[in-house]
Subunit: 518 residues, 2 copies
């Protein structure tokens, strides 16, 4: 005989969800108590919900399956919202379990009562408040089916306390997965014709199309047809490095993206949206597809990417074409004046095989893709939804998904402070993460943006809003205060020494790189 | 000629909103640039939105007028949601200004695009996306009118970037305030009759009824009629100490609250809701008003509290009655084994005149009301919505509202970690705040709750979810890392020394009290 919570955890585990990132409160206590009844479920505690949701996001990107979160009512969900937004925009599967008051208690509008569903809808196409212990696991199975996609989605199951503690829970079978369909013949034929015709052609890859099997297929197509390969500006996960096809990312700055895309006659989308400017700027274009360029969608978010690319490869007769692959190539050991650029160069020089780079370095990471292009193969996961505070939590999840790989998380000082509590979970779980904080003591990207939006009249008060010099944040103390070994680097040599030490010493590390704004 | 942002800030200032707690991004850059055009507006930067919203909450509680927040799209609002929830539940006025993409940019579903309004509705009865620069300030004036209440509310004005940067902004006049009405004569007469009749009577005070003028009026009524005075469990702001009428707070534990309320024949509500259990527990009551007790509402949230109490005082002929006032009384200097109780006792012994206590101490603060009852008069502000992470941000706002008063913020270790970034703003603004962190290295309240909910089967995995020992959090390093002077206390004498030092040294301090779980 199980209660709701026990049956729910069993249902999750049976469907392959074996990790839950948690920040529970009283309404989740029966779920917490039930953890011991299902040994296969790992529960990872976070001190803040944004860490839990960001970790679940990073986990799913690397494990290729969802994690669950356990959150405390509407406020806990709210605290997790920014990283849920990043997961939504990255089409990352995730199952939120949000505890709620007992069904009969909501009428009293107690202190923590709020409309959870309305918050959840911001990030979660599937939201349901489970109404009875008997239905709970059926609801959960439906949520799991939805969240796995394609496209991957955030699903939110709201779990009233009495539904959780009620007896009579019955685990549900894992949802049946309907395999997605590839592009139809007519679409493939039309795209093949465009690629084989004249003009300038490019293929824009997003989501699942940036993983090795898709990359190998599309690189053959590109080699055969002369199409250029682009990756979306903020990939959910891109596999790259020596031996894999190189793909150029669309630039964050619309001005540069327009140069990348200029003169295109055909743009083929594979699991990607047409490129648009990240923000709007007075007098500048938002939609970046050049006029006269014909858009084609080979695989939409709901479709089979590999199947579609295989059909296209066949149609353009690229099955035996040799793809262009990245040659091994590392930058030299950096020396001289210490800058963010030198950090990126050092990473390119020293990063080990099969590393996971979590890139939330903002302005400081501009040169990272160049320096790491020919490094040993690795994955990069990025700020898919633009909600900063993703990097350190993503690193938690990535390290739990891939315990045998080194995770290198890069974050700006401003970004790192949103979810700095992630360091504690890294220490608690002894995760193999090297956190590199670019401390330029400013919201450097906003200094760029202040100019780009053409805001005039900015004086001392405005500039103070972008200035993090007073007081200076000491990330070494913050890290040590949460149990993470840390070093400060103010010179290139200090950085190299700290990074080399961290690379050979398992467990979490933080290196504070004191750099000038880029 | 003003742009939208400049006219908006002028409108805010003209309506008395002269403080804005900010965490801006690109879409808010014109608002930021406009700060220099209106010298009366003070902008206070936070590193995390939950700090900004919690500070605005604390500010309004102490300044008796709203502050604004400046937040970055739906994700910034999400990060601020928990403390907006606390403000909502405390009926605290606040104006959120949430930047959004330019109106024409939303169609492209860029990375940061999300449905902001749906998030805002969780906390904000008034939500509007301003559609044009011409209408912006009218919208703002309407929002200000709504948020000021009564009841105080959170209002959310969504500000698209092009509405902000557009030319032709026209400041709007401050909204007209309609004074609230007192209880009608029949209600007053019925309540007077109940109070003058037999049986056991109590008056439950909430919101504005816990401020000095209301307290003095109601204390006369109580003295005249024999009614007992209660305060709601988590007051928004209560004025107390020597010379003010003492009021007993309803207990957090429903078991104890039931004892407090048992046998009541009449319960009179003044700006308060009927008491309910904070959470639901299997087999226990949620609604705490005893059976057979008659409920009366003297002043609802929309009504005039003082006017209603004055009418009632007249009706029961209490105008000249001498109220019971708290005598000056401090506990002795604590000595012996160091516990949370000793910290509370030390505060009672040493707190200066006119202090502001921000109480998020959870289990560690249980004895605080007793030890401070006869201390010099002071204000206490508490966790109105139950969303932890309120204390340190509230202290920021309280200190900015009342620069001449000492703010003492008490937080549990678990609570403090949700919005620990508040320390940086305290240092940046050189605020006179003493942060006392009760570090018992656990979510101690959840250990209590795990037992109270009757969850069985909790083993090592469950218990680990409530355990913050590994790694131990070093709050001294966290504080120093954000520029706040800090000391650790492991004995009562160390605590006394640190507290006395902090009391005589202006600026922010943190004292980490290493205590056993209560």
């Amino acid at each position: 005989m199980s209660n709701g919570a026990q049956a729910l955890i069993r249902t999750l585990v049976d469907a392959g969800i074996t990790t839950c990132f948690t920040n529970p409160g009283t309404s989740e206590m029966h779920f917490v108590a039930a953890l011991d009844s299902v040994p296969e479920m790992r529960a990872v505690l976070a001190l803040f919900e944004g860490v839990a949701t960001g970790a679940a996001d990073g986990y799913a990107r690397m494990a290729d399956k969802p994690a669950a979160t356990l959150l405390h009512l509407g406020c806990g969900l709210g605290n997790g919202l920014a990283n849920l937004h990043n997961a939504r925009k990255g089409r990352v599967p995730m199952l939120n379990i949000v505890g709620d008051h007992a069904t009969y208690h909501t009428q009293f509008d107690a202190q923590l009562q709020s409309d959870i569903e309305t918050v959840a809808r911001n990030v979660s196409p599937w939201v349901r408040t489970s109404k009875s212990t008997q239905d709970l696991c059926k609801d959960a199975a439906e949520a799991i089916g939805v969240c796995q996609g394609p496209p991957g989605q955030v699903a939110t199951l709201i779990l009233p306390a009495d539904v959780s503690w009620g007896e009579g829970g019955v685990p549900a079978a894992p949802p049946k997965i309907t395999p997605p369909k590839p592009a139809d013949d007519a679409t493939v034929a039309a795209i093949a014709q465009a690629l084989q015709g004249g003009g300038k052609k490019a293929i824009l890859l997003g989501g699942r199309a940036l993983r090795e099997p898709a990359l190998m297929a599309v690189a053959r197509i590109a080699a055969k047809t002369g199409a250029k390969l682009f990756a979306e500006v903020f990939p959910t996960r891109i596999e790259r490095g020596a031996g894999l096809p190189p793909v150029e990312r669309i630039a964050y700055l619309a001005e540069l993206a327009s140069v990348q895309l200029s003169g295109l006659d055909h743009l083929i989308l594979v699991d990607a949206k047409p490129p648009v400017s990240f923000f709007a700027y007075p007098g500048k274009k938002s939609y970046l597809v050049p006029e006269g360029c014909q858009l084609h969608t080979l695989a939409a978010f709901t479709q089979d990417v590999i199947g579609s690319l295989d059909k296209l490869a066949k149609a353009v007769n690229a099955g035996q074409t040799k793809p262009v692959l990245q040659a091994p190539r590392r930058p030299g050991r950096p020396r001289g004046k210490f800058t963010a650029d030198k950090v990126c160069k050092a990473i390119g020089q020293l990063m080990p095989d099969n590393a996971i780079l979590v890139d939330e370095a903002q302005t400081s990471g501009i040169m990272l893709p160049m320096y790491t292009a020919g490094a040993p193969r690795h994955d990069v996961i990025t700020l898919t939804g633009g909600a900063i505070g993703q990097g350190l939590p993503n690193a938690v999840g990535a390290a739990i998904a891939c315990p045998d790989r080194k995770v290198i998380a890069l974050a700006g000082d401003g970004s790192a402070m949103y979810t700095i509590q992630a360091l504690w979970t890294q220490a608690r779980e002894k995760l193999d993460v090297i956190n590199i904080i670019f401390n330029n003591r400013s919201y450097a990207i906003l200094n760029v943006e202040l100019r780009r939006v053409g805001a005039s009249g900015a004086g001392d008060k405005a500039k103070a809003q972008l200035d993090l010099r007073t007081p200076p944040i000491d990330f070494v103390q913050l890290a040590q205060g949460m149990g993470v070994a840390a070093k400060r680097a103010t010179t290139t040599d200090e950085f190299l020494a700290a990074f080399e030490h961290a690379l050979r010493t398992p467990g979490p590390h933080l290196i504070e790189a004191i750099v000038p704004p880029a």
